[in-house]
């Protein structure tokens, strides 16, 4: 007879009857793997110690991004009155027209020059974290920037509350400290909220060029998250990400979102930008084909096939911007677009080096 109810004693008894699960490997095999694994990890073990030491050193409250401006923004050469001609092949007749590119720049999803503060913010449905940038002039504290931008972030379908009342401080070695109060909403936000909070911190610090984060709750070292447990330090994993299209909520503007995963090569990243599905949309349309990708002294040359068909100017511009941001992830300084029987798309001219952007998704977003 099957049971449908259990009392507490029965539950305990069942748990005590859970079968023993043994490691099937031999002692020698484990030791061999251990000896093999010990060497490369030793270097990484220094990091927490360095962070601790750094925490005791002089911290500088950073209000603006550490990202330098892009002094050679070659895309500026693009003139607003430029136009692009849509390619006829495989394009519907009503789309086969000359589009004015002077509309496109206002829909740009990248900041091409200057300084920016970049916040990693979860979307309202807590599915992913989107980097949003605010161009800054002068030394404006980061929290003030966030406060000023909050209403706009809500309209975009992003949740800014995780970074409210959070202070970011940097030491000299790209090790950051994050201070928050014991009343911060993350402590009562459940496991998803904790995950979003940590991902927001990681993304924000990543854009500041940080390599690790040490947490403080009020004056006490570490944070005690009910589901995650006690955390003192997180290391910002090095990643080379692709950029996809993502609309945080129905009717919200489309933003560029980094891939959750890292890619070994930029070719693989581009492939995923065409194939991604689920909550993200491909940033490279399936009618666009990349013939080759070449690295030339820090410049990435992306050649499109002659039969590539570029859709409307806005989504094509976002495609180029997604490629530019992806190139930045792979440490390229500039990108040159060639082929595809196109002279330019939006402000981006073909056969010229275009400096990689400073940051993604600058506010205001249209």
């Amino acid at each position: 007879m099957r049971k449908f109810q259990w009392n507490e004693e029965e539950m305990e008894s069942l748990l005590k009857q859970m079968p023993p699960v043994k490691d099937r490997r031999s002692k020698a095999a484990i030791y061999e793997q251990l000896a093999h694994a010990k060497q490369p990890k030793r270097r990484g073990r220094i990091v927490p110690a360095v962070v601790s030491v750094a925490a005791a050193c002089l911290f500088v409250l950073i209000g603006v991004s550490l990202y330098p401006s892009s002094p050679t923004n070659e895309s500026k050469k693009a003139k607003p009155e430029m136009s692009m001609t849509m390619q006829a092949k495989e394009v519907a007749p009503n789309e086969n027209r000359t589009m004015q590119a002077d509309e496109a720049p206002s829909f740009s999803r990248v900041l091409m020059s200057g300084n920016a503060v970049v916040f990693g913010l979860p979307d309202a449905s807590a599915q992913t974290v989107i980097p949003i940038s605010i161009a800054v002039e002068g030394q404006t504290p980061l929290n003030e920037q966030l406060e000023a931008a909050k209403a706009e972030l809500v309209n975009l379908g992003l949740d800014a509350k995780w970074l409210e009342g959070v202070t970011f401080m940097a030491s000299r070695n790209n090790e950051w400290t994050v201070h928050l109060s014991g009343t911060h909403p993350v402590f009562s936000s459940g496991s998803t909220g904790e995950e979003m909070f940590l991902a927001s911190i990681e993304e924000t610090v990543r854009w500041m060029g940080g390599t690790s984060v040490q947490f403080f709750t009020d004056a006490k070292k570490g944070i005690d998250l009910p589901n995650t447990g006690h955390l003192e330090t997180i290391t910002i994993a090095k990643k080379q990400r692709a950029y996809y299209l993502y609309a945080p909520k129905e009717g919200a503007p489309t933003l560029l979102a980094p891939s959750p995963q890292s890619f070994a090569t930029i070719e693989k990243a581009f492939e995923s930008m065409q194939a991604v599905s689920g909550m993200f949309r491909p940033s490279i349309a399936k009618e666009v084909h990349i013939a080759s990708v070449q690295s030339q002294h820090g410049d990435l040359v992306v050649q499109f096939t002659a039969d590539s068909s570029f859709a409307d100017s806005v989504s094509s511009q976002w495609m180029l911007e997604a490629i530019l941001l992806t190139a930045k992830e792979f440490h390229f300084r500039s990108v040159t677009f060639t082929g595809g029987n196109v002279g330019n798309i939006g402000p981006y001219r073909w056969n010229e080096k275009i400096a990689v952007p400073v940051a993604p998704n600058p506010l205001p977003v249209h």
């Binding site: 507490e8 005590k16 699960v21 490691d23 002692k27 030791y31 447990g229 955390l231």
Partner: protein, 177 residues
């Protein structure tokens, strides 16, 4: 072979492995994590002051390794991957569990729905057989927190078991790993 490793292995290896296995519910992950525990233990063994028992000290290190694993698991990449693997997770049971009666299988599956803290307490208290005091020492908690978390864990497990039972769990055929 390192004599410290040799001794620790003989005394505690299967306990450590079992703790990690029931925490992460995956044999391969448990194998990787137990390696990490040894690496940490061997590096800090000289600093073990004997304030706690050797076993609770080792388990506390294993706890940190498991929590770190869960934190990494919660990265977005893992979240996406996990979303795709939901079906597999429901369908597959480790061999040791799959040969048990249905109640035990159900309990194993419901354990996966506990919070990490709840799972820590349940695994240490009932599967590892630690006392409340030893569990508190391992987790660095008060005994009162252990008791409260244990109570909540059992309540949650009971609720999950009963919901699953009413939902017709006994009709499912669960294949082995």
């Amino acid at each position: 072979m390192d004599s410290v490793f040799d001794e620790l292995y003989e005394k505690y290896h299967q306990d450590l492995f079992q703790f990690l296995f029931y925490m992460v519910r995956n044999r391969e992950q448990a194998e990787d994590l137990v390696q990490e525990v040894y690496i940490k233990v061997l590096r800090s063994y000289d600093r073990f002051e004997g304030r706690s028992s050797e076993k609770t000290w080792l388990l506390s290190i294993a706890k940190h390794v498991a929590i770190d694993f869960f934190r990494k698991q919660r990265s977005f990449r893992a979240k996406l991957m996990n979303a795709w693997k939901v079906q597999d997770d429901k369908a597959l049971l480790p061999e040791e569990i799959a040969v048990q009666r249905e109640e035990i299988q159900l309990m194993y599956r419901c354990l996966g729905n506990c919070t990490i803290d709840q799972r820590l307490v349940v695994v240490l208290r009932f599967i590892q057989g630690l006392s409340v005091a030893e569990t508190a020492e391992t987790l660095g908690w008060t005994e009162s927190k252990v008791k409260t978390t244990q109570h909540r864990a059992l309540k949650r497990l009971k609720q999950q078991m009963e919901e699953a039972a009413k939902g017709g769990w006994h009709h499912e055929k669960i294949p082995m790993e």
